[in-house]
């Protein structure tokens, strides 16, 4: 395709005619404020703030295609004036309604308002004729802050959840749950990571975490998920795909955490438990295919839509829950600490992990394995509040229980759980260690991947699924033919947890790819690449779990599922 030559603010550019002027400008570092443009979603030109001037006319740049010889101006007096007025209209009342702005916490909209001189009080905003809706303990949608950009609705439809829709008209227009009772939210939080103004957001838990940190009687443990270390840097202006693992550990210490462990260690526990169950089921040909269950949004999908298929979910708990229970049982005993005084805080790329952490059924000795879950975004807000600038920190190592394998590191990517389990299952089935540990066929950001994996004399048929849309496809395939697959990994978010609902805004598939690459680099640079070779985890199993009664063992490693109603 031939390139178009045109100018932005008198600077020549050549570009693909399929791209919009906004996309080209943003890529070339020209700042144009915008709210309703997202690289992966339809262009509907709703917010009307990405204004530019072309041939004396002020137009939106998101739906403007470059033409040969076109002169685009982004900062003329007319553009500035109309842009400011539209932003004043769009963001009327933002600061008075935004809980982050109200508490003086970092809010990206507020930063933008300051940059463009938007007061937010020039015009009146109507009070929406609707209330805050909480998606269980995961996310919430605030109609007062909604700017009707439709992004949450579009992503909810694109992923296949179809839970959100635009309701009302005129200045009362806002996103809201559908009235169709056959549809439920699965708490994936994709709406929150696609909301440009924090109207759809995680349910904030920063304050209780701060209280725990300030309480001298509490031993507060930080553990971060695989995906968080390669995305937190974005909140501090670091290039997409930067691995900030070492700085993240230091940041937890600066915040005052007593111990810095790692969800990755929990992932190694999960791999061992899950691989063990997989082998058992394959040998007994029972409840196949086996589904992963570490994505609470996927579990909710199954519990709401397909309760009849629940026996196919692995009974293994998820990494954050496995790790939390290990701290509050094994580690507490070793360290002679009353587990009641331990507070475990997970840092996750996810909103549904907040929901999972509140499941009573996961309690161990009446204690929650994980007390609080902060998203990557909440963590950034907390760091900024405490004046901790991540890029400036010296890297450090985690504490004793933070040791993990490369297999755990890749849990964040779609296909990572599958690959980790296969590395361990190979050893369990053949008694030999796998030489080449990479399973390329299950990698990548596609939403539906399939492969046949040869382990010894067996061929294991696997599939790797991301998003609700593909959940429906695999359920249809399996309903038609139960023997189509042996093992299926399912995640709710595009690209897996790395594209999770708790990740920094914006998250696009291009960004997800770069973060994913960083995860696989962590794995390939490690010596320890198999969960079952992690010495900490070995110690946990050999010297603690093995001595437990069957009931005790189950209570910290396994779970069960049940039919869930709407909003449950």
């Amino acid at each position: 395709m031939s390139e178009i030559n045109f100018k932005i603010d008198n600077i020549p550019h050549s570009a693909n005619p399929d791209e919009s002027v906004l996309q080209i400008a943003l890529r070339e570092g020209v700042d144009i404020p915008h709210f309703c443009h997202h690289d992966d979603l339809p262009t509907e030109a709703r917010c009307r703030t990405c204004l530019v001037e072309v041939e004396g006319k002020v137009v939106t740049s998101c739906n403007l295609k470059p033409a040969e010889g076109m002169d685009v101006f982004t900062d003329t007096p007319r553009v500035k004036e109309m842009r400011l007025r539209n932003m004043e209209l769009l963001l009327a009342g933002h600061r008075e309604d935004c809980p982050k702005c109200q508490k003086g916490l970092h809010c990206r909209v507020s930063v933008l308002m300051d940059r463009y001189g938007v007061s937010g009080i020039k015009y009146k905003s109507p009070k929406a004729d609707a209330h805050l809706h909480k998606m269980c303990q995961a996310a919430e949608i605030d109609p007062q802050l909604c700017i009707a950009c439709n992004k949450c609705v579009e992503i909810c439809e694109k992923t296949g959840s179809n839970f959100l829709e635009m309701k009302g008209k005129n200045a009362q227009t806002h996103a809201a749950p559908t009235d169709r009772t056959t549809i439920d939210c699965i708490y994936c939080g994709q709406c929150t990571v696609h909301c440009p103004v924090g109207a759809v957001r995680e349910q904030n838990e920063i304050e209780p975490v701060e209280r725990a940190l300030d309480d001298p009687d509490k031993i507060v443990i930080a553990q971060m998920a695989p995906s968080v270390r390669v995305s937190i840097g974005e909140e501090f202006g670091m290039p997409v795909g930067t691995d900030s693992t070492g700085q993240a550990f230091t940041a937890f210490r600066e915040l005052g955490f007593d111990k810095v462990f790692d969800v990755n260690m929990g992932a190694d526990i999960t791999t061992i438990v899950e691989a063990g169950e997989l082998i058992e089921r394959i040998k007994e040909n029972k409840n196949l295919p086996m589904f992963t269950s570490c994505c609470p949004a996927w579990v909710k999908h199954m519990e709401f839509y397909h309760p009849d298929l629940l026996p196919h979910l692995t009974t293994s708990r998820s990494p954050q829950i496995h790790a939390g229970a290990a701290y509050k049982t094994w580690w507490a005993k070793k360290e002679n600490i009353d587990p009641k005084n331990i507070v475990v805080v997970s840092f996750m790329p996810c909103t549904s992990k907040k929901y999972e952490a509140r499941h009573r059924k996961l309690n161990v000795n009446d204690l929650r394995p994980v007390d609080y879950v902060l998203t990557t975004r909440e963590w950034a807000v907390l760091l900024k509040k405490r004046g901790i600038n991540l890029p400036e920190l010296e890297p450090s190592e985690p504490d004793s229980l933070g040791l993990y394998s490369g297999a755990a590191a890749i849990y964040g990517a779609s296909g990572g759980v599958m690959e980790s389990a296969l590395r361990t299952a190979y050893f369990e089935l053949t008694g030999e260690e796998l030489e080449k540990v990479e399973f390329e066929a299950v990698r990548g950001v596609e939403g539906f991947k399939k492969a046949e994996i040869k382990i010894g004399d067996r061929v294991i048929k696997v599939a790797v699924i991301a998003t609700a849309k593909n959940m429906n496809k695999i359920i249809a395939e399996i309903t038609a033919d139960k023997s189509a697959y042996d093992y299926v990994e399912v995640m709710a978010c595009p690209g897996g947890c790395i594209g999770g609902g708790g990740q920094p805004v914006p998250t696009t598939m291009e960004i997800v790819k770069k973060r994913t690459e960083a995860l696989y680099n962590i794995d390939s640079s490690m010596e320890l690449r198999k969960a079952h070779l992690n010495p900490v985890v070995r110690d946990f199993f050999d010297n603690y779990v093995s001595k437990l009664s069957e009931e005790e063992r189950k209570s910290i490693l396994e779970t069960h599922y049940s039919h869930k109603n709407r909003y449950e």
Binding site: T43, E44, A45, R46, C47, R48, T49, L51, V58, T60, N63, M82, R85, N86, L89, L90, A92, Y123, K124, S125, P126, I147, A148, M166, G168, K169, N170, A171, Q172, T173
Partner: protein, 333 residues
């Protein structure tokens, strides 16, 4: 024979009577030229603006002609699928009668369907209407693609106003004389719908219908929301525009009341899709409600963005009544 109709429409100089005034023959030819397995014809009887009530008048009094006009379009486009996009209030009044008329016209396998829309202003906008029929939110689509290429369910679609189809039938019967419908409203003797020459000046229309006021007045032409305002003197030369609304206001009408009448309408009818229209009309309403003296400069600042940056014609037209009222009536006092 059917190809002749478009020649006749062109010679008669028919333009759309929904408000936009697009040449009817060109619209028909555009759609004819697009290759597609299916095409649709839609009669737009949304008529959601205040001061307009001619579509219901035509449907009540001339349903045969309207259906005939639609049939000419179906035959010309070599398709058989037609829709009435009709607002619920109208349907409740004339739906059964219209269904009966359509049944008698059921030759050539023509299939007429009724889409009953919730009465709204935006529901008459061509692409919003398509969304509504498709079961989507009633809000405008981006253009291009235009409905003539990518219309209902992605197929080329002809959307004409009730009056346009009526005119097409007259053209076909060689009875079209260049008349148009006037919807006269306001505190006059005989408000109502009149069918009169399109080239009469407004003063003549008022005199001939016995509606020329015995008080000082100004008028709004086209529709009582989006229509332009002209003073009494201008009414001597000004001719009808847009969709044919003619509202008469006493010269001493309180400006605040008038502005709020327009803004209550616009603010209520904004579909909510784009920020300047949705929030701008709300902000204007608030600004005017709270004012003791009309803050014209403040108002014009907001109107500049509704006019220049709104997504569709609804938002882009909010300034028209207000600005023309200001320059033709307020400033002339």
């Amino acid at each position: 024979m059917n190809d002749d109709i478009v020649e006749k429409i062109e010679q008669a100089g028919l333009i759309g009577r929904g408000g936009a005034g697009y040449p009817t023959a060109k619209k028909w030819r555009d759609i004819k030229s697009v290759q597609s397995d299916k095409k649709y014809v839609i009669c737009n009887a949304s008529e959601g603006e205040i001061g307009l009530f001619k579509d219901i008048h035509i449907l009540e009094n001339h349903p045969e002609e309207v259906v005939h006009g639609m049939e000419l379009a179906l035959d010309y486009l070599e398709t058989n699928k037609a829709f009435f996009n009709i607002n619920r209030n109208y349907y409740e009044k004339i739906g059964p009668m219209l269904r009966e008329v359509v049944q008698h016209h059921n030759y050539h396998n023509h299939d007429f369907q009724f889409f009953i829309e919730e009465p709204s202003y935006i529901g008459g906008e061509e692409t919003a209407l398509l969304n509504a029929i498709e079961g989507k939110r009633t809000e405008p689509r981006q253009k291009p693609p235009f409905p003539s290429v990518f219309g209902l369910f992605g197929r080329p679609t002809l959307i004409n106003n009730v009056e346009t189809f009526f005119n097409v039938a007259l053209v076909d019967k060689n009875e079209y004389k260049g008349d148009r419908f006037y919807c006269i409203s306001g505190p006059v003797n005989s408000p109502g719908v009149y069918h009169l020459p399109a080239d009469w000046d407004i003063a003549k229309v008022l005199r001939e219908t016995g509606n020329y006021p015995d008080f000082e007045f100004f008028v709004q032409l086209g529709g009582s929301a989006s229509g332009l305002v002209f003073n009494q003197e201008q009414a001597n030369t000004q001719k009808m525009v847009g969709a044919g609304g003619l509202e008469i206001y006493p010269k001493d009408t309180a400006p605040k009341d008038l502005l709020l009448r327009w803004l209550y309408f616009y603010q209520r009818e904004s579909c909510g899709k784009c920020a300047p229209c949705r929030m701008g009309t709300y902000a204007l309403k608030e600004i005017i409600e709270e004012s003791t003296e009309i803050p014209w400069d403040e108002i014009f600042k907001v109107l500049e963005v509704t006019k220049e940056t709104s997504f569709c014609g609804l938002g882009k037209s909010v300034n028209e009544p207000i600005e023309s009222y200001y320059s033709n009536v307020i400033k002339e006092q």
